[in-house]
């Protein structure tokens, strides 16, 4: 093992630890803040840290799409809606723990244990030796080739899903004359 390889290994570990802890910390911050605006800002930090992890897994195109689509477009939409609605959300940790909160924490912990046990039992011994990949793995060229050859149907269905969502957003957002004055839902 050469010195350059060892130095690169230490560097990757350092970046991984920083990104992973930023990821986990900002995820906990998202569900802890009372103000939804701060939660959305913490989620932007979470998405940025995840993009770093994607880069370490040599998924360059997905990391770029993550920053552009998620942290760029989706979160701006979130911030617009939060600015439009204003107000404060519920305080999750205020007062004593209710039975609902205890149940939620128990269910989430059970889910975590279940995932770890399931993945550990199914793939525990086989996760240590990774395949080597070519330098073009995860590049826009490789992703585009996969999208237009092996996964063409998924690509087309994705466009239909986005179109339906856009139509649904327009219908939900449009003012309907019938509903003015009445208060169903």
């Amino acid at each position: 093992m050469t010195l350059a390889f060892a130095a690169g290994n230490v560097l990757v570990w350092t970046v991984w630890i920083l990104a992973a802890f930023a990821c986990l910390g900002s995820a906990i911050a998202v569900i802890s803040f009372t103000n939804p605006f701060f939660s959305a800002l913490a989620l932007i930090g979470n998405l940025g840290a995840l993009a770093v992890l994607y880069l370490l897994l040599s998924a360059e195109f997905v990391a770029a799409a993550q920053v552009l689509v998620y942290a760029g477009a989706v979160m701006v939409m979130f911030l617009f809606v939060i600015a439009y609605l204003g107000g404060r959300a519920d305080a999750p940790w205020a007062g004593g723990p209710t039975w609902q909160q205890v149940g939620a924490i128990g269910a989430a912990a059970a889910l975590l244990v279940e995932i770890v046990v399931a993945v550990g039992l199914k793939a525990g011994g086989r996760l240590s030796h990774q395949h080597h990949v070519y330098r073009s793995f995860g590049s826009p060229h490789a992703i585009g080739r996969l999208f237009l050859t092996d996964h063409l149907l998924a690509f087309e269905i994705t466009s239909i899903v986005l179109l339906v969502a856009a139509i649904g957003g327009v219908i939900l957002g449009s003012h309907s004359r019938k509903l003015v004055g009445e208060k169903p839902l």
């Binding site: 939804p36 897994l57 975590l112 996964h151 986005l162």
Partner: protein
């Protein structure tokens, strides 16, 4: 060929599992639908991280394609969810998922 640097896939999977559980906790714990949507995004991102980690592990790009599909579905879900939240608040209803119990149109 790229040599393997840094942590093994199992470390990434641990982060992904923790992210998914944190998102699930947010969905169960919070009552504001905005924060529930944000927690859903965390869950989807945990699944995405696992997909990309397995794609790197097997040296197969299909996992990354699947992650991009998940991102498109997440964007659609945010559009519909935020549309619903704005429609709810326009009728002067409380933004509280415990109080929105009746599914009457």
């Amino acid at each position: 060929m790229i040599a393997i640097l840094g942590p093994e896939v199992s470390w990434y999977l641990a982060v992904a599992a923790f992210l998914f559980a944190t998102g699930a906790l947010g969905v169960l714990l919070r009552r504001s639908p905005l924060i529930v949507l944000l927690s859903l995004e965390i869950m989807l991102n945990g699944a995405n991280l696992a997909l990309i980690a397995f794609a790197r592990h097997h040296g197969n790009g299909s996992g990354q394609i699947f992650a991009l599909g998940v991102m498109a579905v997440a964007a659609s879900e945010v559009v519909v969810g935020l549309g619903l939240i704005v429609a709810i608040s326009r009728r002067n209803l409380d933004l509280d998922v415990d109080k929105l119990r009746t599914l009457r149109g």
